[in-house]
């Protein structure tokens, strides 16, 4: 096959893929909302995996507490776009009256009664910023640690954040503890709320299910995240991170300020997680500490490892596989077991765990570079690579 033929067929492949991605919600519609919902969640995981990829894949820092930034973004949305702040002020007034009254005055009577309801355009950058700062703060103590110790310490931080989220309902009710935060505002663009009425969004004449609206929004965010990741990778910063990953001593000798670069990697990765978290809060309308466990951190890590550490297309693949596959299997394997055995031997939760565990073990033993690693340039000299 001549070179131009080969390029043509791969171009058509890409075009077909893009079309498939764009029409997916309409194709899946007759089968119920569940499939699009699964896709929405998968898109969020893609963002998370890409964020972790900056830390683990580019800079080589094994962060096992990444879910903490997802939590921070989500709880930020929870505090700033729901009635929760009113509850916080109320509990403050009860236990610390002087401070409570002062804070109530600061926010004004409307917020004290109904909580804050910032628009998504404010919350997203805020989530990125706050999560980014948190990333730098949590990364700071780990800078001199060897790989596996760094992993354990970041794991500890992830757990600490979760414990705080779970317990910050007394004396002042900030996070509402194990019950989580309810009634988080859905995304609102102009006059159109993504929750719509009864789950249907109306845009003039058009009516699409709410999950579809979120699908396209998250798809857009994913594309932006992918572009950001790619640009970071192929920049002075990206090269510095990869240099640190490959050989920290040589990187230092070449004038790279390793400490600051590592902090920046933590911060950037964390900010992706924060944005995903805020979106998650708005999408679900409800968050609780249960969504932000170590299992989630490990799941995201599994996605990066399975797909191909450091290779953006691989990471996206890994995220799609590990986010969607368990759900797809649940919808197929459980009914299958019912018909075959009359009961469920392996339920969805077990299946999910099995997949994560196997992904990590098998990949490391058999194909450590991942399912779709960066192509090696060994023998053939390549012409200049195309870059978007």
């Amino acid at each position: 096959m001549s070179a131009s033929n080969a390029r043509f067929s791969s171009r058509t492949q890409v075009a077909l893929l893009i079309i498939a991605i764009l029409v997916f919600p309409f194709v899946a519609a007759p089968f119920g909302n569940a499939w699009v919902r699964i896709a929405d969640v998968a898109l969020l995981y893609i963002m998370l995996a890409l964020g972790l990829n900056v830390v683990v894949g580019f800079a080589g820092l094994l962060d096992l507490g990444y879910v903490a930034f997802f939590a921070i973004g989500a709880y930020l949305a929870g505090l700033l776009a729901s009635p929760q702040l009113a509850a916080t002020i109320e509990s403050l007034q009860m236990d610390f009256p002087t401070a409570g009254i002062w804070v109530a005055e600061l926010f004004g009577p409307v917020i004290a009664a109904q909580g804050m309801h910032l628009s998504v355009w404010l919350i997203v950058p805020l989530a990125a910023l706050v999560a980014g700062i948190a990333g730098a703060l949590l990364g700071a103590p780990t800078l001199k640690l060897r790989g596996d110790y760094l992993a354990i310490v970041t794991l500890g931080f992830g757990e600490i954040i979760r414990i705080f989220m779970n317990n910050l309902n007394a004396p002042v009710n900030i996070t509402n503890g194990p019950q989580g935060i309810n009634l988080i505002d859905p995304i609102r663009i102009g006059p159109v709320s993504f929750a719509g009425e009864a789950g249907v969004v109306r845009l003039g004449e058009l009516a699409i299910p709410s999950v579809n609206a979120y699908y396209y929004l998250f798809l857009l965010l994913c594309v932006v995240t992918i572009i950001f990741s790619y640009r970071l990778q192929h920049s002075r910063l990206g090269r510095a991170w990869i240099a640190i990953r490959e050989d920290e001593v040589a990187a230092k000798a070449m004038g790279i300020h390793v400490r600051n670069m590592k902090l920046l990697a933590f911060a950037m990765g964390a900010s992706f997680g924060g944005v995903a978290g805020a979106m998650f809060g708005a999408f679900q309308g409800f968050i609780s500490p249960e969504s932000f466990t170590l299992t989630e951190s490990i799941a995201i890590l599994a996605m990066v490892v399975l797909g191909g550490i450091g290779h953006i297309p691989g990471v996206v693949l890994g995220a799609v596989l590990l986010a969607a596959l368990p759900e797809i299997l649940r919808h197929t394997v459980e009914p299958l077991q019912m018909t075959l055995f009359g009961q469920i031997w392996i339920d969805a939760e077990v299946l999910r765990q099995l997949l994560y565990g196997l992904a990590l073990v098998l990949i490391m033993l058999a194909r450590p570079a991942g399912l779709w690693p960066a192509p090696r340039k060994e023998q053939h000299l390549q012409t200049a690579e195309a870059a978007p």
Binding site: P171, E248, A302, V305, I346, V361, M364
Partner: protein, 309 residues
């Protein structure tokens, strides 16, 4: 004052369990320079295996003395834990001995998940009530209360540590272990089979973890597939506190961490004027870990663990 004594006793009990598990981490680190992330789950397997054994014993021979039943449970759990631990070494670690250090860690995380999933499938998701085969009436000890289970735990922990010390210091095997920990290549030149020593190290660690797991479940009267994760992490913190790679450090670190946690949980309310309550107890171990690694990475008795070029 009574509260203090009670907290000290609790701390000692908790610390002994941490010490037993910490020893497993520290010994493996000593010979392989690697954190055995799945070690906490070995503890869990021990506890659940013992649960099953006790179910059988309770069913077939309910009249036997509790101590005998518990002993049988422990003796039965040990080989299972050893086998699991050896399998982990074989599958997850042996082939990756020369791989970049993150690879065995990632594999270990995967193994940990698989073990938990396996346990979930075999024993279900919910916590299982662990049979109380020893009398529950607490004994009066030194001004505080201690249940017979806790007393047994202390005795077993103490005995285990003494035996381990004797083995490491006085036997050929122990010398071989220390040699491999110092310098595997030279040890090999001296005729020491590194693989066998490593397997033995895992086996010993697993034995201690089995004892700790059974006693943990007996103490808290509960066993569940996820029970190993948090104690494992805390025991690891204890090992780092004492100085990873150093056996006496692990014992010291374990006891210390138990005391810190117990006293901390008891007094944190007073210390923070009610802002933080005792459910923040789990955080202490992590804070200790972070502080130790930041301020004194070699721990109380061990070697440097900070990044080496």
């Amino acid at each position: 004052m009574d509260l203090l004594v009670q907290q000290l006793i609790n701390g000692l009990v908790l610390g002994s369990m941490y010490a037993l598990v910490a020893l497993g981490y520290t010994m493996v680190y000593g010979v392989l320079n690697l954190i055995n992330f799945a070690h906490g789950d070995v503890l869990m397997i021990g506890a659940l295996t013992a649960w099953s054994i006790l179910q059988l014993l309770q069913h077939w021979v309910p009249d036997w003395p509790g101590l005998i039943k518990l002993t049988i449970a422990i003796v039965g759990a040990i080989p299972v834990c050893v086998i699991v631990s050896l399998l982990i070494e074989r599958i997850a670690y042996r082939r990756l001995r020369n791989a970049p250090r993150l690879a065995p860690l990632i594999t270990a995380i995967g193994v940990s998940i698989l073990l938990q999933t396996l346990a979930m499938m075999l024993w279900g998701r919910d916590p299982l009530p662990f049979p109380q085969v020893l009398p529950v009436e607490p004994l009066h000890v030194a001004g505080g209360l201690m249940t017979p289970t806790q007393l047994l735990l202390l005795l077993l922990a103490f005995a285990s540590m003494v035996i381990l010390t004797l083995v490491v210091e006085r036997t050929r095997i122990g010398r071989a272990m220390r040699a491999v920990a110092e310098n595997p290549r030279v040890a090999a030149l001296m005729g020491v089979d590194a693989n066998r020593v490593i397997m033995l190290t895992f086996a010993m660690g697993a034995t201690l973890a089995a004892v700790a797991g059974v006693m943990w479940a007996a103490n808290y009267a509960s066993a569940q597939f996820a029970m190993g994760f948090v104690p494992g992490l805390k025991a690891f913190s204890a090992a780092v506190l004492g100085g990873i790679g150093n056996i006496y450090g692990a014992m010291l670190g374990g006891i210390l961490l138990g005391l810190i946690e117990s006293l901390g949980a008891g007094y944190i309310g007073d210390l923070t004027a009610g802002v933080l309550g005792s459910h923040y107890q789990d955080i202490f171990a992590f804070i200790v870990l972070i502080l130790v690694l930041t301020l004194r990475p070699s721990g109380l008795m061990g070697e440097r663990v900070a990044d080496r070029s």
